[in-house]
Symmetry: D2
Subunit: 109 residues, 4 copies
């Protein structure tokens, strides 16, 4: 039953890792102030992605609800990250977009 979630779980774990890495890298940029919104969204997105992965792995009755919320946060984080040219931001934006698409697919399955 949980196998149907496998691709989405993997996308959530990848996105969470990319967001946490991006948050840490942003905090070490020369102009941290410019990255403030990116850092905040990275932390939020990483946290909810890890919960979404957990819910799906447990085949939770609430998995779809959380995936829907996760897709919304991923969209916000992708949009912000895409504005910055640093490799960690571009990598994070791509992971967020992929995760948003997977979560949306799950939420409407």
């Amino acid at each position: 039953m949980n196998q149907q979630y496998e691709t989405c779980i993997e996308a959530c774990n990848d996105c969470a890792d990319a967001c946490d890495m991006c948050a840490a890298a942003c905090l070490q940029e020369e102009d941290v102030k410019m990255m403030a919104r990116c850092i905040a969204l990275d932390v939020d997105c990483a946290q909810l992605c890890r919960v979404a992965a957990a819910m799906m792995a447990r085949g939770s009755a609430a998995a779809k609800v959380v995936c829907e919320a996760c897709a919304a946060i991923c969209d916000m984080c992708a949009e912000e990250c895409a504005k910055h040219q640093m490799e960690h931001c571009q990598r994070c934006a791509a992971a967020c977009r992929r995760c948003a698409a997977e979560c949306r697919r799950m939420a409407s399955a």
Copy 2:
């Protein structure tokens, strides 16, 4: 700004504690099988309540989205817990109902 969230943060923390306590107590009941759905929802609800508290404490751009999802899980958990007469389930059901109401208030603020 985060002060507007204070009552809801407290309700989320209380609900998370009540759910985690209920999950552990259910696992020690004589008839664990009867409590299986309660345990699963307790774990889910506790996890999302802690994330909702975190998002609100950070004044997150995604706080409302997460509060909405949290209210939905709280409803499910309250409905299941209310079926069982044990004190830990009744206490958890009450905490879930209060948290659902607070989260709904936040989500629509």
Copy 3:
């Protein structure tokens, strides 16, 4: 059984909220760069405090191990926050110190 944990659970929830609030407030300071280490430790400390609260509420076999790790992170976060005069940092430092003391008491109980 979990009642013995109650004071420590409350200290962990308070500390997590104070850390998450401090992280968000630091990100809105004029000189964000000066707050970079504070933000990073706030996020770490909040996250582990919420897990420690969850473990204690579940009467987990691993509660002491996690409380010990939590005390160590609280010490680091308190030390950093104490360097900054902003009210959110001073409040966070106090919450971290109280949480470290409670977690240490639990870990050695």
Copy 4:
């Protein structure tokens, strides 16, 4: 800098997924009572593994402390899961052992 963590992050994510899947599968076993300790440890282990992955991805100052605690929980969970013949328990035990070894390597690096 975070690349040194990559293998361990992957082991933590895999272990968290295996533990969450095992918890859900145990709750659907005929004899749930026999699985009570396994379920409790699965939930604990999954939760801390996800935090350890997050801490490493952020290159956290507390990553080693959390990895050490994570290894301890993984040991407990592996020992319990290994007692049960179900495929989900055996798979989880293997993931826990691998994660414990990786976390121990990180903690002493």
